[in-house]
């Protein structure tokens, strides 16, 4: 784990020195680059690509959560800032997701359904495709799709922070 972690940070550092700061890139890009580098250097350390991606997904989640926490701590004094989830923004702006709230909700989901939480971790933080996720979790792609749909719906509700009853009131 620390190996993947260090490599991700090292590659991120190289991105900064190569390109203009302030721009974002997808987690997937970092994860893939780390794999290519580490697989070349340490062919025996990882059982296979999926194994690596799974570890990288966990690392990404940890790094992002740590950074978000540090940034929040830096703003101490005022109330913790929460980025509101505007429905319109979510579709095209992955950045508008509050990483800390998502992490917290994901931890709660893991208690109800560890597999669903894992799938979200792999897909969102690791950028794995449905097929790669299926291989990492050890289930069929169809199952991943179904579980992913439910996990996403559950998280959407959890992140919206609506009281549970009101959402059902609509059709009653």
């Amino acid at each position: 784990m620390p190996l993947v972690y260090d490599e991700l940070r090292r590659i991120a550092a190289r991105y900064i020195s190569r390109e203009r700061p302030g721009q974002t890139l997808q987690a997937t890009a970092l994860v893939n680059e780390a794999f290519v580098r580490l697989a070349g250097e340490r062919p025996r350390s990882f059982a296979n690509r999926t194994h690596f991606l799974a570890i990288a997904a966990i690392s990404m989640r940890q790094i992002l959560v740590q950074r978000a926490r540090a940034r929040r701590a830096a703003k101490r004094g005022g109330a913790p800032e929460r980025v509101t989830l505007d429905e319109g923004l979510i579709a095209d702006e992955g950045r508008s997701i509050d990483v800390l709230a998502l992490d917290e909700a994901l931890t709660r989901l893991a208690k109800l359904d560890p597999e669903q939480a894992r799938i979200v971790e792999l897909r969102y933080f690791g950028g794995l495709t449905v097929e790669e996720t299926a291989e990492a979790v050890g289930v069929s792609p169809a199952t991943v799709k179904r579980e992913w749909a439910m996990a996403r719906a559950w998280l959407k509700r959890a992140l919206r922070g609506e009281p549970r009853r009101s959402s059902a009131g609509g059709h009653a």
Partner: protein
């Protein structure tokens, strides 16, 4: 929400999605029956799903600056008299850069302390101590510390820039040849002698901290958590706050007890084993290593510090003796290499034996099927056969992994565990059930089936956990 409710919710959710959007709510109300709470929950989830288009669909977007850390200095940055050239590594204590000292126009390794909360002076104090301690050591096998700099409120340590690669990358390519491994170990021991004489303990010796220069010399770096061996320093690293890398720490250091120079002896024992076998000495199913060298490593990694070499000098003497001996005989000690590992052997034997029994028992199950007849007979036989196929495949896979890819065994076991438990239970259950059903017709076969069924149950409930524990417990000796 408990497990059952969650499973129900899942069924409702997936079921509802199979309905057309207009009929979903009605379908849910109908299916949920009296459980209104669950119906509401499911309806809310379905509603969330319908508006979740695109949500989390794009993997996390990251700002590289966030991940690289706020302390990252870009190449070309001037910091005091230094100009950053590139990053060369990261450790627990901070980022290390290759930089140029403009005053003397020489390359240095510049280590930055991560920025910490104002109130937390511990890392700063540690780094100050590191510089002061390490600067007192002067030895060809130790990377020289030049200066401790405080620039704009931040601390940097400038030390000799060593051009080369880490011992870790050597080990990862392939285990080292014995004479070379002993020679490197001897050089590390020499570095430790010099440090210990200066009252400095490394406390974080590992292959990552040993550099092989392009000229082939050995340099021990990063007395990162080294402390001057004094009572004053002891107070700063309070017990319980383990600093270092766990895999290379002796038990007393892991437990947060007071450590002395013999902690470095332990770490060097681990490093020596890794050089020769490519593996940590406490890896299950460790690869064999030459007995002569393993005796030295073994003595280094004794739990009781009193049982180890008592000083780096004593260890160095042993290494030099062995070096002289092995260059004399020049014979590779491959023949005497095998240090049998009985506990792992038993576990492997158990896997192979269980696979064999499972395979053999499908035959009596087939006979029993004929006697029982009908659907019951078929069901019993199919259960035995299916369980046997699953269990045999998985156990042979584990056996194979243990023999040829021991490093991946832990992972393989974790993945197979649930399947093996399930297959074992089905197998034992089906055999006993079959035995009971044919009791009157073929008593001897019945007894045999029940006996093997019960035996299998006992084996996987009692014996297997014991052999697994024996094989996979962290061993305290080599």
């Amino acid at each position: 929400m408990n497990r059952d409710q969650w499973e129900r919710l899942k069924t409702l959710f997936h079921g509802a999605l199979e309905q057309s959007p207009e009929t979903r709510l009605d379908w849910l109300t109908r299916e949920a029956g009296r459980d209104e709470m669950l119906a509401r929950e499911a309806a809310a989830l379905v509603a969330a799903h319908e508006t979740a288009e695109g949500f989390l669909e794009t993997p996390a977007n990251v700002d590289p600056a966030d991940i690289a850390g706020p302390d990252f200095l870009e190449p070309g940055t001037r910091i005091g008299p230094y100009e950053i050239e590139r990053e060369i590594g990261r450790g627990g204590m901070g980022i290390v850069y290759c930089a140029r000292d403009m005053r003397l126009d020489r390359r240095v390794a510049l280590k930055a302390l991560p920025q910490v909360d104002e109130g937390d002076a511990t890392p700063r104090e540690r780094l100050r101590r590191e510089a002061r301690a390490a600067a007192t050591i002067s030895h060809p096998n130790v990377a020289t510390v030049y200066a401790l700099e405080e620039i704009d409120g931040r601390l940097f340590i400038a030390s000799e820039f060593v051009d080369g690669h880490t011992l870790r990358s050597d080990i990862e390519r392939a285990p080292l040849e014995q004479t070379r491994a002993l020679a490197i170990a001897a050089d590390i021991a020499r570095a430790l002698c010099a440090a210990h004489d200066a009252g400095v303990i490394h406390r974080d010796l590992k292959p990552e901290n040993v550099l092989i220069t392009t000229g082939g010399a050995v340099k021990v770096l990063d007395f990162g958590i080294a402390q001057v061996e004094s009572v004053k320093a002891m107070r700063l690293t309070h017990p319980g706050a383990a600093v270092g890398t766990p895999a290379y720490m002796p038990p007393e250091q892991l437990l947060g007890a007071v450590t002395d120079a013999r902690a470095d002896i332990y770490a060097l024992g681990v490093v020596l084993t890794e050089m020769l076998t490519g593996q940590h000495p406490l890896t299950p199913g460790s690869r064999p290593m030459p007995v002569s060298a393993s005796d030295i490593a073994w003595r280094c990694i004794q739990i009781d510090p009193d049982q180890r070499y008592q000083s780096a000098r004593e260890l160095l003497a042993a290494l030099e003796r062995q070096l002289a001996h092995s260059s004399e005989s020049a014979v590779d000690h491959a023949a005497e290499a095998i240090r049998a590992e009985p506990s792992a052997w038993w576990w492997e034997f158990h896997q192979a034996a269980a696979a064999l029994v499972y395979g053999v028992m499908t035959w009596p199950a087939w006979i029993a099927r004929g006697i029982i007849g009908g659907k019951q007979g078929d069901a019993m036989f199919v259960a035995v056969l299916a369980a046997a196929i699953v269990a045999v495949t998985l156990r042979l896979h584990l056996w194979f992994t243990s023999r040829f890819y021991p490093a991946e065994l832990g992972w393989a076991r974790a993945r197979a565990a649930a399947w093996i438990v399930a297959a074992d239970s089905v197998f034992a259950g089906a055999l006993v059930a079959g035995g009971v059903l044919i009791g009157d017709a073929r008593p001897e076969l019945a007894v045999a089936q029940i006996a093997v069924g019960v035996g299998a149950a006992v084996a996987f409930l009692l014996i297997e956990p014991a052999t697994a524990r024996a094989a996979f417990r962290p061993r305290t000796r080599l």
